[in-house]
Symmetry: C2
Subunit: 452 residues, 2 copies
C-alpha cells in the first residue's frame, strides 16, 4: 500500500481504473441478496396486502391473536422472576443481573427447554446442547453461517420451502439445492439423487432442511415410515438433517407423530424450535438443539455444535432479549413446561378453520372437471390449492382489487422454479364465516379467469 | 447432475475424490470466523474471569447495575401501553397486535427515536430512515452485510477497535483494514493513506467505522476540529462513515461535542445507537439511522439505505422483540425522550469512577521512570494503561491467580497487530474502594514482573 501524504485542502486524487464513487449508494453495489426476488417477495406481498385492508386475507402466516392479553405479559414476567428467586434460590441482586445485564449467550431458558422438549416431544436434550435464539430465524442464520466455509458448500431443502429459510440462506451466501416434495413431504429418493449429484459436481451438501409436520407452505406431513427412512438415508448418505418444528402441536386432533429428533439415535438431527406460534411472535424467542460433537475445538470452547453456534451468536445478537425470555419462561412455568397444554385453545381454532377450509373448498368447487384441486393437510395453518391458470403477483393484485380476496402465490416458495398454478391458503387468523366468504370470492375469481 | 436411483438398502456409494464424511463435524470445516482469535477472545476472557470470581475485575465492559429494579420493567411496559392507547389512539385490538404479533421490521420506536435524537444529540432524522435493531450489534451486522458484495470489499476501522465490530465483520466475511489511532482518536491522515492504498490495490473501501466519543477500548474522543476534518476528508475521499455512539452521555461533566451525524450535511454518516448502556443491555435494543439514498431500487422498496437494511433484517431477526421495545419505549416516555436525563445517576457513577482510576494510577504509580503510563479519557467507561512488559493472556491469568486483579489485554482489540504492552481498565461496575484495591494489586503485579 502507498503512503500518500494528506493534501492540506482535501481533494480527490486521480481515481484508479475502475473506480466508481460510493455516493449515491447503488443497489447493484450492495449485497446480492438485496436484489434477489426471495428477499423482495415478502415486501411485495405485504405491500399488496396493505393496499387491500378490507379483503379477506388467506395471505398472512400469523398466529391467531384473540387470546392475547397484555396482562399476561406482566403475569409471565412475575412468574419467571419468582422462579429465579424461589425455585432457583437466586438473590435479588442475581435476579437483577439475570433480567437486566448482558446474559449468557446460550440463554436463560435452557433448563426449562429440556423439560419442554421431554414433555411435548419426547426429546432428550442436555442444557448445554441448546442455544436460545432471537426467533428460529436466528437459529437458521447461525446454522447456515456455521456450515458455510466456501463456495462449494450447499444446503438442501424441499421445494417448496419456507421463504424465511430461503432468505436466511441467501443472506449467508449459501445456495439451496431443491429436493422434490411428494404428497408425504420430502421425496427421500430425490434427496439421495440430489446429494450424490451435488457431490459428483464437486459441491459439499452440508445439511438438509426439513419440516416434517404441517410444513409451510405445503401443509404436508411425513409418515412415520418416511421419517425412519429419511433418518436411515441421511445416515447412509452422510447428510446432517435440520428439523424445523413450528406447527406439530396443531394436529387437529389426529395422533402426533414423533419428531425426527426424538427418533434420532446418532445425533444426526439438529432441531430448531420456536415460540412464535405457541406463545407469541413479537417476543422473538426460538431455540436450536445442536448436540453434534465438533472435532478439533480449542480449549475454552465447549465440545458441541451448540457451542460453536453460541460463538457466532455472541457476534450477531449477543444474547436473546432477557425480557422476552422471562415472558416465555413464565409461560412455560405456568403450563408445567407443556406448550401442548398451553395452546389447546389455539389448536382448536386451527382445527376448526382447517375443517372450514376443506368443507368450503368442496362446497365452492364441486365440479372436479373445473381444474381446481387441493391437498388435505392433517393440521397446521396452511393448505395448497391448484388452479387452472397461472397465479402470479399480477393475478393476486387482480384478485384483491376485483374480488376482495388475498392469498400467496406458491411460486414465492419455489424461488422461481415451480408452483406456477398454485396458491397457499393460510387460515390461522380467520373465522369460519370469513373463510366461507373468502372461498366464495376465490370461486368468483376462478370463474372470471376461466371464462376468458 | 446425475440421477442415481436409490438402492433399496441405503448404503454409501463410491465417494467422489476429495470426499470427507460430515460426521463428526470438524472445526476446520465450519465457517472461518469460528477459528478466528477474534471470536475466541471473548470466550477466553470470560472463561479466565469466571475462574477468579473474587478478583477485582477491570475486565467487564458492563454497565453499572445497582439502579436496576424489576418493578421498572412493569412500569415501563405499562407506560408504553398507555402511550399506544391514549396518545396514539390505538384500539385494544391494535395494542394487542403491536405488543404480540410479528411487528414492522423497522420497529415500534422510530417516532420516539426521532424525538430522542433531536433532544439528546441535535440530530434531525426522519422515522423512515431508522431501523430498530436487536442491539447495535445487529445494526453493524446489517450494515456489513449490505456493504459486502464480493471479495474486493473492505471496511476501515481504527486500531484498536471494539471487538464486537471486528467479530461482526468476521461473521460477514468483511476484512477490516486498520487505521492508526492517535491521542485524539482516529488518525485522519492515515485514513486517507489507507483508503488510497486500498483502492490502488484493487480493493473497495466501503465505509469507515468510528466511535468519536470515549471509544471502546481506548477511551479516546475526537476534538471538534478533528470531527469536522474527518467529515471533509470522508467527503473528499468518497468514504461512508459509520458512527457508533454508545458512550457520549457519560461525559464526566465536560462539554459534550456534537456527533458526526449532527454535523453531517450530505448524508455521509450512518449513525448507530444503543440502549445497552443507557437503559439496560438485556433488552437488546439498538438502532441505526441510515438516510442515504440508494439508486436503482425496485418498486415496493423504500428509497433509503434503511429500507435495504430492513429487508436484510426481515431475514435475520424479523423484528426486534416487541416486549423489549415496549420497555425501552416506556423508559423514553418516562424521560421526555431524553436519555441524558434518564442516565444522570449512572453518569455520576462513571465520572466518580473515572476520577478514582486517574487518582489511583497517580498514587500507585508515582514514579514516571517506572515505565507505567496511561491516557486521560474525558469520560466513558475505559482507560488504557501501558506497562513495561508484554500483557498477554498468560500474564492476565498470572495477574488473576497471584494478585487477584483482572483486566483486558489490549491486543484483543487489535486483531493481533498491536497493543502488546497495554491493558484496558474498565471501571463501570466498581466502587472507588474496589478501584483503589485493584490498582494496588496491579502495582504489585508490575513490581513482580519488573523485578525479574
Amino acid at each position: 500500500m502507498t503512503t500518500t501524504a494528506l493534501p492540506h485542502s482535501p481533494a480527490r486524487t486521480q481515481a484508479p481504473a475502475g473506480f466508481r464513487p460510493s455516493f449515491p449508494l447503488r443497489l447493484d453495489e450492495l449485497h446480492g441478496s438485496l436484489s434477489d426476488p426471495v428477499l423482495g417477495s415478502m415486501t411485495l406481498l405485504n405491500e399488496i396486502t396493505g393496499r387491500y385492508p378490507d379483503a379477506v386475507s388467506f395471505a398472512a402466516g400469523r398466529p391467531y391473536e384473540n387470546f392475547y392479553d397484555p396482562a399476561q405479559l406482566h403475569a409471565c414476567l412475575e412468574r419467571f422472576t419468582r422462579h429465579l428467586e424461589d425455585e432457583l434460590g437466586r438473590t435479588p441482586a442475581q435476579v437483577r443481573t439475570a433480567l437486566f445485564q448482558y446474559g449468557h449467550t446460550k440463554g436463560l431458558l435452557t433448563q426449562l427447554l429440556v423439560r419442554n422438549l421431554a414433555v411435548d416431544e419426547g426429546i432428550t436434550a442436555e442444557p448445554d446442547s441448546i442455544v436460545v435464539t432471537t426467533g428460529c430465524q436466528e437459529a437458521m442464520i447461525l446454522l447456515l453461517r456455521a456450515l458455510r466455509t466456501d463456495d462449494r458448500d450447499v444446503i438442501l431443502a424441499p421445494a417448496p420451502t419456507y421463504v424465511g429459510f430461503l432468505g436466511a440462506a441467501r443472506l449467508m451466501d449459501m445456495p439451496v439445492l431443491p429436493v422434490r416434495e411428494g404428497s408425504g413431504g420430502i421425496d427421500v429418493d430425490d434427496l439421495v439423487t440430489q446429494v450424490r449429484g451435488a457431490r459428483a459436481a464437486g459441491l459439499r451438501p452440508r445439511a438438509c432442511y426439513v419440516v416434517p409436520d404441517f410444513a409451510n407452505p405445503s401443509g404436508l406431513s411425513m409418515s412415520l415410515a418416511d421419517r425412519e427412512r429419511l433418518l436411515e438415508v441421511a445416515a447412509a448418505e452422510d447428510v446432517l438433517l435440520i428439523e424445523d418444528n413450528p406447527y406439530s402441536l396443531f394436529n387437529a386432533g389426529a395422533e402426533r407423530l414423533p419428531t425426527l429428533k426424538s427418533l434420532d439415535r446418532r445425533r444426526g438431527v439438529v432441531y430448531v424450535g420456536s415460540f412464535a406460534k405457541t406463545v407469541f411472535p413479537g417476543a422473538r424467542v426460538g431455540y436450536v438443539v445442536a448436540d453434534q460433537p465438533v472435532a478439533g475445538v480449542t480449549s475454552g470452547d465447549g465440545p458441541l455444535l451448540a457451542d460453536q453456534l453460541a460463538k457466532l451468536k455472541s457476534m450477531l445478537t449477543l444474547n436473546t432479549s432477557t425480557i422476552s425470555q422471562a415472558v416465555i419462561g413464565g409461560k412455560l412455568l405456568e403450563n408445567a413446561c407443556s406448550m401442548a397444554s398451553a395452546t389447546r385453545r389455539e389448536a382448536e381454532v386451527y382445527a376448526r378453520n382447517l375443517q372450514a377450509v376443506l368443507d368450503g373448498l368442496r362446497r365452492h368447487f364441486p365440479d372436479p372437471a373445473a381444474g381446481v384441486s387441493w391437498n388435505v393437510p392433517g393440521g397446521g395453518m396452511f393448505a395448497v390449492v391448484t388452479l387452472p391458470f397461472e397465479t402470479d403477483d399480477a393475478v393476486l393484485e387482480y384478485s384483491a382489487a376485483r374480488f376482495g380476496v388475498l392469498w400467496t402465490p406458491m411460486r414465492h416458495f419455489y424461488a422461481g422454479s415451480g408452483g406456477t398454478h398454485q396458491i397457499r391458503l393460510s387460515f390461522s387468523v380467520l373465522t369460519p364465516e370469513q373463510i366461507d366468504l373468502g372461498l366464495g370470492r376465490l370461486a368468483a375469481l376462478v370463474r372470471d379467469r376461466t371464462a376468458r
